[in-house]
């Protein structure tokens, strides 16, 4: 193994069942159910997955859900807006801690 991420590993995702068949089976059954059309459309779910993929910095997920979004009929504008949602939450989560910094600063300064 000469690198941590290999695109050839993505189609092997199902192989995680090898070391733990029952848990793997339960996971994929749950996973497939989650992405079925429900209160949210499968396209909305694919866009959420794309945004989360960026937030968790998962290259496998980004590849899978970029294709997934296109195959659910999403367009470039919708996909980039989803990524901006992830970016806004990520940056917002950093900035909201600024309040803590400000609180502490005010606590210990004159």
């Amino acid at each position: 193994m000469d690198r941590y991420y290999d695109p050839k590993d993505l189609p092997k995702f199902g192989n995680i069942k090898e070391f733990s068949p029952e848990l793997g089976k339960q996971f994929f059954s749950y996973y497939n159910d989650v992405f079925k059309e429900g209160a949210l459309t499968s396209r909305e779910k694919a866009l959420i997955a794309l945004a989360v993929s960026h937030a968790v910095h998962c290259p496998y997920c980004i590849e899978a859900y970029t294709e997934g979004c296109l195959e659910k009929g999403a367009d470039e504008a919708q996909m980039m807006e989803a990524v901006h949602v992830a970016a806004a939450i990520k940056s917002g989560s950093v900035l909201v801690h600024g309040v803590q910094m400000m609180n502490k600063t005010k606590e210990i300064t004159m």
Partner: protein, 351 residues
């Protein structure tokens, strides 16, 4: 975006033999894709036979005013292959004899054949239902085509038109600069004479195919989006949307190979193989006729020059019984018709 056909560029992939070689060569890691023929044989379709010959799909010529990136015909303004009136006469004789009721006219831009209107009138006189694969922009390409909506209406011709997206960017990327804007105008002209408003005599269907190396979305959901967007933004109505998979041949094959997407796209088609589609593929009730009168199992086999496995391979030798009993010729590109919900000129095929 090239404005020339692969043939005019003397590109390797303009040769059907080379396309078949690419489709059947081992992958980069030395493994081989499973044979489509074996896949369907395992389902009991051995040999693969038609159920009927209900539809003749007639390619009246490869000439087109557009040079779409994905075109499986490799059509364009530089293609001069055009069906003659003699060949059309032979088709009319076959239609009369076999009592075929549906004729699907395609190209190129079929309207560019100088005998297109005559042929359509003769077919109408025989009581045929005609479908024309109209690329929309042809209606505006020259004043002599501006009255096509009225002509279609007069003969109750069903119009099937490609529109890969309701955004200009995605449509133009596949079909050429400015195509979206002209397509919208042409759709408005068709609406103005009554097309696309639920009248069974004036059917206007749109055809979606992905602008890249991915499978089409769910047809029903996409139709809803297209209807909402086109109505809201352009006051356009249409009847149905057909979602079609891009078949890995000709210019789309060139796109796949040149962008490094070929193997992953083939694998995608194979992974999405849906046994429920196999009995419904269009070669089971359609015969395709080339511009020069030769007969094929489908438009894709036509472009790969895989003529029907029958004694009479030309329209002048049309023999309905023999064609109904033929074995359909299969190859690796057939995975395109059986992926996901399946694909035909009428969109999804899975029941």
């Amino acid at each position: 975006m090239s404005k020339k056909s692969l043939k005019a560029l003397a590109h390797d992939l303009s040769d059907s033999m080379i396309q078949l070689k690419v489709l059947n060569r081992p992958t980069a890691d030395g493994s081989e894709f499973p044979q489509f023929k074996e896949k369907v044989a395992n389902l009991g379709f051995t040999p693969f036979k038609p159920v009927s010959v209900d539809i003749l799909q007639v390619n009246v010529g490869k000439m087109c005013n557009q040079v779409c990136k994905h075109c499986h015909v490799d059509a364009g303004p530089d293609r001069k292959e055009i069906m003659t009136k003699d060949t059309m006469q032979q088709i009319l004789a076959a239609v009369r004899g076999a009592k075929i009721k549906t004729i699907d006219l395609t190209g190129g831009a079929p309207e560019m054949n100088p005998n297109f209107r005559w042929f359509a009138e003769e077919l109408t006189a025989l009581g045929c239902h005609i479908i024309v694969r109209c690329n929309l922009t042809i209606i505006l390409a020259n004043p002599k085509y501006n009255d096509l909506p009225q002509f279609f209406k007069k003969h109750k011709i069903e119009v099937a038109s490609s529109l890969p997206h309701f955004s200009a960017k995605r449509t133009d990327a596949q079909r050429g600069d400015g195509v979206f804007e002209k397509s919208i105008e042409a759709l408005q002209m068709l609406n103005a004479v009554g097309y696309g408003k639920g009248n069974p005599d004036l059917v206007l269907n749109l055809v979606f195919n992905p602008s890249g190396a991915f499978l089409p979305p769910d047809q029903a959901g996409l139709e809803k989006d297209f209807k909402t967007k086109l109505k809201t933004e352009y006051d356009i109505e249409f009847d149905q949307l057909f979602a079609i998979t891009n078949i890995p041949i000709s210019r789309f094959l060139d796109y796949l190979v040149s962008t490094g997407n070929y193997e992953s796209y083939m694998q995608k088609l194979i992974n999405a193989f849906n046994p429920a589609t196999v009995g419904e593929v269009m070669c089971r009730n359609t015969v395709s006729i080339g511009w020069d009168g030769y007969l094929f199992d489908c438009d894709f086999n036509q472009m790969l020059d895989l003529k029907v496995a029958a004694k009479g391979q030309h329209i002048s030798e049309f023999n309905l019984k023999e064609l109904e009993q033929r074995n359909i010729i299969l190859n690796q590109h057939c995975y395109g018709c059986t992926a996901g919900a399946g694909s035909s000129c009428g969109g999804e095929i899975a029941q």
